[in-house]
Symmetry: C2
Subunit: 296 residues, 2 copies
């Protein structure tokens, strides 16, 4: 993975292995009935993703002195929620995307009905999974509040609604910032915060981490806009040049200013991280850089 030190690359791979093993345990077995549903859920989840969100959770927990395994169920819950939003967003009635990560989308393989229900089932399974593990009930409740706040009133879903409606009139910078911070940013912010909430750090440190999560979340979506405008379709694995009539940072700010904003966000993110944990945040700093240097 581009620009990562050997140490960070290896650690990330170890986290991904841990996450994939756990997801395999937490998801229903595809040999059971209704096979169609369970196959669709697993097809969506096991699609070669980078596991960015749950890795943020595990890494944050580890930096704060925890065994990352303790927050594995909650990290996997976030990945399931992320996947559920992708499955529903790709539907013909919403973004109508045929490809995702280089493969046909869930509804292309399993039909629209199963795609809707597999999304719902992943959502339900996410909450079921977030209740598992050995964290205290108090911490689980705090984490669930963080996750549900990231989703609704105002969260990912409001961001998605604003996004699909952004083609109706020329979106402003303000519209774009609302969409990006909600549709994409909120769940990335929550991924970091779930790791934080599993620990016992005080409110000040929590605040630095929240700022870190917020900033890399927004930077992530600006990078997505840049990839949509200038990336290579084969590398990105989905249809590009689709967002010119949407609230894209590239359309609203232009390439140069969008990049400038993105770099500034990540610099600020890293500064906050340093205030929280000094130089112990190297892994997360490199993840932040990766987010804006990736090619897919």
């Amino acid at each position: 993975m581009i620009g990562l030190s050997k140490e960070t690359k290896e650690k990330w791979e170890k986290f991904v292995e841990l996450i994939n093993t756990a997801l395999d345990v937490f998801l229903p077995c595809e040999k059971e009935e209704p096979q169609e549903l369970y196959k669709a859920m697993r097809y969506a989840v096991f699609s070669g993703g980078k596991r960015l969100r749950p890795t943020l959770t595990l890494a944050t927990a580890e930096i704060l002195g925890l065994d990352p395994k303790i927050v594995l169920p909650q990290a996997c819950a976030i990945e399931m929620i992320h996947t559920f939003t992708l499955v529903h967003d790709d539907l013909p009635d919403i973004d109508n995307d045929d490809f995702r990560r280089g493969r046909p989308t869930v509804h292309k393989v399993f039909g629209n009905d199963i795609a809707i229900l597999a999304g719902d089932a992943l959502f339900a399974c996410a909450f079921k999974t977030a209740l598992r593990g050995s964290l205290s009930d108090e911490k689980k409740i705090k984490i669930l509040k963080e996750i549900t706040n990231a989703l609704c009133y105002k969260g990912v879903i409001e961001g998605q609604v604003a996004d699909i409606r952004s083609t109706r009139k020329k979106p402003t910078l303000e519209d774009m910032l609302f969409i990006h911070t909600h549709k994409t940013g909120k769940l990335i912010e929550a991924s970091v915060m779930v790791g934080v909430l599993a620990s016992d750090v005080d409110g000040e440190v929590q605040g630095y981490f929240r700022k870190f999560g917020k900033n890399i979340g927004l930077a992530f979506q600006i990078k997505d806009d840049l990839l949509d405008a200038y990336g290579e379709e084969e590398k990105v694995g989905k249809k590009l040049r689709k967002d010119f009539n949407k609230a894209s940072a590239v359309v609203i700010l232009g390439k140069e200013k969008a990049e400038e904003m993105m770099f500034k966000l990540v610099e600020e993110a890293k500064e906050n991280l340093r205030k929280a944990v000094g130089d112990r945040g190297k892994f997360l700093e490199e993840m932040a850089d990766f987010i804006i240097n990736r090619e897919s």
Copy 2:
């Protein structure tokens, strides 16, 4: 409401008032943006339903000595989940229903995209709501486990998948029982159990209540099948005679045997309730009778 004593009718109406007031507080305000989303959520929730499920929760809690208000957030969460399943089931890609409770379905009014996302938002809002209130974290976690188990692996969603696939081959009695106990029964059972789990009753009493919930859940769906086959469209408020090629108890057992099964289920339910709480369960007994005597 048919066959209810004056006392039970008044109590039910009071519960409904309490539930509606709370739902109004827990749901996002429709004057806020994105208005379209919030209007769709509220249109789906405030459609003149009988609030059967949350009423079961509040009544159960009250019978077990609690102030029913303590479990109001969790009862409302169940109603939101019930509503979310209806919104998604009605979609053109699934059951393709144009009417529900005598009004156009959510996608007919707001479009398929908003209907999908309003369903998702209701689901998210349900979990957000279930985390509210003054129950202990331990009880909230137990309740959330009950609710998520009712939904997935094996729950409501598996029941719905089996239902939409039941037209592919002639369904057996076993298929019908799986679909009915999961698609409809699980959430009704959970509605009772959430009231139980808010209290401190022991495992034996919990078992009686679970049996009560299971039985009235299955009886409820058999009654739905009877209404589909023999009910009046105007009273029921949706298109009837739709289930002849599906796993309907009427088709599989015939009218007489379906009714017999339904009556037996409710008798057994009431016996279990009496074992749990003696004659303090009058309200729930009348609700059980109402379920099989209703005309809509």
